[in-house]
């Protein structure tokens, strides 16, 4: 991946290798799927990944938490799904080979949030509970997921730096 930079036009540009773009597309689609399934699930959120995506607002008051969830979780899940879909779209514009994305502010915000959601899901799957935990548990699966988790963080860090950089004239 070639890091994000802000073009004079204000657009945020980065280049992904084909495999990287495919991986991100896949992860974004999985996140959207997880959040779409949520509507069919019972009110109690049993999946730790979903619980982290749609957390309790009142940890000491189950009743108030349930009410808050009733009023907000559909909209929250829907916005997250839309963000994921926007990411899938921005990565799709190119054919085989490398993918260069040119994101406007709105698309950049979708990517920023989706990268967070992807990391939250991966962290829940890896059982990451403390600062500094990489999630590697000595298995091949956890190694792959842990490397992916780190890489998605790298993409996000790169995007944040570019967002913070004023456009150069």
């Amino acid at each position: 991946m070639k890091r994000f930079r802000r073009e004079p036009s204000g657009l945020l540009v980065a280049r992904f290798e084909a495999a990287e773009a495919a991986l991100l597309t896949n992860l974004a689609a999985q996140t959207a799927e997880l959040l779409s399934e949520k509507r069919d699930a019972p009110a109690a959120v049993a999946d730790p990944a979903l619980a982290r995506l749609l957390p309790d607002a009142y940890p000491d008051d189950p009743e108030a938490s349930a009410e808050f969830r009733r009023f907000t979780s559909d909209g929250l899940a829907e916005r997250k799904v839309l963000n994921s879909k926007a990411v899938v779209d921005s990565l799709e514009q190119s054919d085989r080979g490398r993918v260069t994305v040119h994101l406007d502010e709105r698309e950049a915000q979708s990517l920023l949030r989706t990268l967070t959601d992807i990391r939250l899901v991966l962290a829940a799957r890896l059982g990451i509970e403390r600062d500094g935990d990489s999630g590697f548990r000595g298995t091949r699966d956890s190694l792959t997921q842990s490397l992916t988790y780190g890489w998605v963080g790298y993409v996000q860090e790169s995007l944040i730096r570019a967002l913070n950089a004023p456009p150069r004239r």
Binding site: A57, D60, R79, R113, R119, I128, R130, G132
Partner: protein, 99 residues
């Protein structure tokens, strides 16, 4: 200034609205092992409009102390902030401010 409510308007006032000025609520952001420090700072700056140094100060408070209060006010407003934080993927809750 809040005028005295006459008995017939009093009935229409939502209990929550009356409660607000007396018991303010706070929006709390909790530390999590996932979100990048740069991201939390970015969210505090762009959503709450904190200066870079103020956003960093609060981010470090979350990181070092496990939590930070990022806003105080009426309950509905705090619920909107918490929902916005959940949009960003931050772990936020609301609580009554201790008297």
């Amino acid at each position: 200034m809040t005028p005295l409510a006459s008995p017939d308007t009093l009935e229409e006032i939502d209990e929550r609205t009356v409660e607000q000025p007396l018991t303010p609520w706070s929006t709390i952001v909790w530390n999590d092992p996932v979100n990048l420090m740069s991201y939390v700072t970015y969210v505090f700056q762009s959503y709450f409009g904190f200066s870079e140094s103020e956003a960093e100060r609060r981010m470090l408070q979350v990181h070092n102390e496990g939590r930070a209060v990022v806003a105080t006010g009426g309950r509905e407003e705090m619920e909107r902030h918490v929902e916005a934080m959940h949009d960003y993927g931050l772990w936020a809750t609301l609580a009554k401010v201790d008297a």
